[in-house]
Symmetry: C2
Subunit: 171 residues, 2 copies
């Protein structure tokens, strides 16, 4: 059986992942704990079984690959740099990832461009819903014709932030 491609993101109730300037100071809880679930969202545990991290060039330029020093990092970009600590990929990325998935668990880190391009080959989503209507910002996905049906897997909650995990519905 294949391994998995997974992705986690925080969104506002109106579906934005960042404000228009890319800011995310609004990604905070509401200070309440009455709806906390026993099981909490645990990013460290989530990353435990990840073998490969995929990110875009902007994230790489922001040095975010350094947070995953013990993982294989793939940077989706046409601008390659002289850096042996990561693998730069510019072509056939989807088929490449599908191939890697045969033996390795893949975590799609972001940003939005990368997630959008891969959204229908992602097997699992963990979406944190921040208690705010942001008004405007950068949407979770770039608009396209692809509908992806999901199965709800689990509900977690802490500090007014609800984390919903979904698996892709088999066609």
């Amino acid at each position: 059986m294949d391994k998995k491609i997974k992705c986690t993101l925080a969104i506002s109730l109106d579906g934005y992942i960042a404000d228009e300037q890319g800011g995310y100071d609004w990604i905070v809880g509401d200070g309440s704990h009455e709806n906390n679930t026993e099981k909490k969202w645990d990013f460290e545990a989530y990353m435990n079984d990840v073998d490969v991290v995929v990110m875009g060039r902007n994230c790489y330029d922001l040095q975010m690959h350094k947070e995953f020093a013990n993982k294989e990092v793939i940077v989706m970009t046409s601008r390659k740099t002289d850096d042996n600590s990561v693998t730069f990929l510019s072509e056939n990325i989807r088929s490449h990832l599908i191939d890697i998935r045969k033996t390795k668990n893949i975590f799609v880190f972001g940003g939005g461009n990368v997630v959008s391009q891969l959204k229908d080959i992602i097997d699992e989503y963990a979406i944190g819903i921040i208690p705010i209507i942001l008004g405007k910002g950068i949407p979770l996905f770039h608009p396209d014709e692809n509908r992806v049906k999901l199965n709800l897997k689990e509900i977690m909650c802490e500090d007014g932030i609800v984390v919903l995990t979904y698996t892709k519905k088999e066609a």
Copy 2:
């Protein structure tokens, strides 16, 4: 103490309330019941304490006011018609609703235009999250500068649809 203005909507995981043609055939559960909560979303109970229903002209033209025969219905529109069963309001709607709220519970039915205009005077939201990434469609709110901070009140779930209720955070 004032009564409340409340609103309920179903959105896709990527924050759309309808597809681009206004369709909502995608508003369905995932067939699973493992995450069902004991308390379920109950629209009838939700409507019990509602005195006044507010809707836009399109909803009225689609005869949706007839679903609320035992409630006072306000139609937000500049095109008044000869119909005594509803009240047509075209001006100072926000201050008018704030005034009504002193003694009556108000339900903002929709559509998106109406909800968007009133989003920061709505006291309670109940948002049903449909297990689908829609790709494109009509967003929950028209983009604007207004951020509305919320407090998570309750989590309900049935058939893979998670209903989150929020109250507006006091400034």
